[in-house]
């Protein structure tokens, strides 16, 4: 198992999500309130995890654009729960620590009008010493 | 308690509510009780005993009486006996409307053979006062702590709750969180060879007396398959050693899902074979595989072997599971 596959495995295990249950209906992205500011959208999170592209997601700002409102979790007809997947990928990002976690001064720079409040909270929450 | 029970039963006799009562009759000694039918209040007043040795489960006697006799029969049931009663009711073996149940409270019963083993065979009488058992022997009075002489099955009591009764003496009890599967687990944790040698030692003592079958409230067949000459497995005279061992496996299988774990089989076994462990193994497996089930808990839920789930475990689980070596 290479690194990408390992990440996929870990993300799925931590979230309890089975990405293979997705039937590509797009309900998650349809229901997402922060769709427009995301580079990768909820359904892409699911599809990209399936295709071993967790690292791309970890690098993307989209990871912190998710408001964790769980509308996608609520509405998904197949019980895939994309929101939980996002959380698990965030956790992976946090675990890498020094490599990519946000430093306090970085967060300050990100405090723009566009940044949703919940994302700020999330950013702090993911901050580790 | 005994006098209260007698008083009430006499009332029921006098009001012609009941025509007979099944209870425990005084034997040669006050610890040696026999299940018996009392047909008059006089007989009952004189010979009925309810004490720490009233161990026998009386529910099975109701079958023949239900089939043959008219009038209402009173039966005394301890909490564990009520489960057997419900099972019999569920299987249409007894008629509820012909039976009056007095639920009698039960602490632990005592085991006369344990007392004898500890204090010698020459016992004249035994009585229990709270925590101490006082024993009159030919050598004089002796005492022993109750906890040392409790009947084995009562040590793993599953429930003090009477699941069915018309009248209850004492407080309503509760289902207990018993450790009754501990012994099964000990065996499960042994190596198969050790288990094999355990059972070989135990079952080899079987003398084919059929006491386990005759006492069992789930073994109520009009004619046992092992007594039937046409069944092809008649067991009257075992032609080889395998047959008695087959008897115990099949007997356990036949009561699987129906056995209420009353423990009578082991209590009456003259060779002290722990037959209840076979039944408990089935109960434990059923709980693990198909969800918790207590036979006799109610009379609606179908026994586990007469229902199924489309997603039941496969038999291969026996090979793959980790909790049994």
């Amino acid at each position: 198992m290479n690194k990408s596959e390992l990440l996929k495995e870990q993300v799925q295990r931590n979230s309890g999500v089975n990405v293979l249950k997705c039937m590509r209906c797009g309900k998650c992205s349809a229901t997402c309130p922060n769709y427009d500011v995301m580079e990768y959208h909820p359904h892409q999170f699911v599809n990209m995890v399936e295709n071993n592209q967790v690292e791309l997601l970890m690098k993307s700002e989209s990871l912190y654009m998710c408001l964790t409102c769980f509308a996608c979790v609520e509405r998904c007809p197949r019980g895939v729960e994309p929101g939980k997947l996002v959380e698990a990928i965030r956790l992976e990002a946090v675990r890498i620590k020094e490599n990519n976690h946000l430093k306090p001064d970085q967060i300050v720079k990100k405090l723009t009008d566009k940044m949703p409040q919940q994302a700020i909270v999330t950013a702090f929450r993911k901050y580790t010493k | 308690m005994q006098s209260e029970i007698i008083k009430r039963t006499v009332e029921l006799f006098n009001s012609e509510e009941i025509v007979r009562a099944i209870g425990w009759r005084k034997g040669d000694f006050d610890y040696d009780l026999n299940p018996s039918i009392f047909k008059s209040s006089e007989d009952l007043e004189k010979n009925f005993v309810y004490n720490d040795f009233s161990s026998a489960n009386l529910s099975k006697f109701l079958i023949k009486i239900s089939q043959k006799e008219d009038g209402k029969t009173l039966v005394f049931l301890k909490s564990c006996d009520t489960y057997s009663f419900n099972s019999l009711l569920q299987e249409h073996r007894i008629s509820r409307d012909k039976i009056y149940i007095i639920g009698v409270p039960c602490e632990e019963n005592l085991d006369p053979s344990k007392i004898k083993a500890a204090l010698g065979e020459d016992v004249l009488s035994m009585s229990c006062d709270g925590e101490t058992v006082t024993v009159e022997t030919l050598d004089g009075t002796k005492t022993i702590s109750k906890s040392e002489v409790i009947l084995d099955r009562c040590l793993a009591c599953k429930s003090r709750k009477h699941v069915v009764y018309d009248e209850l003496f004492g407080e309503e009890g509760e289902v207990l969180d018993s450790k009754r599967f501990d012994q099964v687990e000990i065996l499960e944790n042994m190596k198969p060879e050790e288990r094999y040698s355990f059972w070989r030692t135990e079952l080899s003592r079987c003398i084919g007396c059929n006491a386990c079958r005759d006492i069992c409230p789930a073994c109520t067949c009009e004619k046992c398959v092992f007594d039937n000459r046409d069944s092809g497995v008649e067991n009257k005279v075992a032609t080889n050693d395998f047959e008695e061992n087959m008897f115990h496996i099949i007997r356990a299988f036949h009561v699987a899902g129906r056995c209420t774990d009353c423990g009578e089989c082991s209590r009456v076994c003259p060779e002290d074979i722990p037959l209840h462990l076979l039944n408990r193994k089935f109960i434990k497996d059923i709980n693990e595989f198909y969800g918790n089930y207590q036979a006799g808990d109610d009379i609606e839920t179908l026994a586990p072997l007469t229902r199924f789930d489309a997603v039941d475990v496969e038999p291969s689980i026996v090979k793959t599971r980790e909790n049994v070596k």
């Binding site: - | 099964v184 288990r195 061992n245 496996i249 193994k281 059923i286 595989f289 199924f308 039941d312 038999p315």
Partner: protein, 148 residues
């Protein structure tokens, strides 16, 4: 066949096959000329749920070394629900035999459909090899031998 093979332990294996799926699957193995060990002797039953635990123990009593029960796949039973009962009964029975210390590889349940001739042969070959590996069945008979 070499002399060595002839003298090796040849287990007696009884296979109970349901009439509608597994017996037909066994017939298909024949039609396709798919080999499996001759140790396996098939008894036809209407449904796997016809197999009484007594039959299995009887087979062991009379000298069988392995007993396998084959039925339709769960959900495909010709009698709608028969094999679901088989599944529960045999799970419990096998667990009990294990509890008594009997080798787990002597008994088996397999679901073989009428179209799975190849699988029937595979299953029988595998089962025969498993039983061969554990050797002759003594334990079941010995269980009642007087302890000395």
């Amino acid at each position: 066949m070499s002399v060595k093979e002839k003298t090796e332990f040849q287990p007696k294996i009884v296979a109970f096959c349901c009439n509608w799926c597994s017996y037909a699957g066994a017939d298909l193995a024949g039609t396709n000329r798919t080999n499996y060990p001759a140790n396996v002797k098939i008894i036809r039953v209407p449904c796997s749920c016809r197999v009484n635990p007594i039959f299995i123990l009887r087979a062991f009593q009379r000298g069988a070394d392995g007993v396998i029960i084959c039925g339709c796949h769960p959900g495909d039973c010709h009698y709608i629900t028969g094999n679901y009962y088989t599944r529960r009964r045999m799970t419990l029975l096998f667990s009990m035999l294990d509890f008594l210390g009997i080798e787990k590889d002597r008994t088996r349940v397999e679901w073989v459909s009428a179209s799975e001739g190849g699988r029937f042969a595979e299953v029988m070959t595998e089962f025969t090899n498993d039983v061969k590996a554990i050797g002759p069945n003594r334990k079941l008979e010995d269980l009642r031998c007087k302890a000395k």
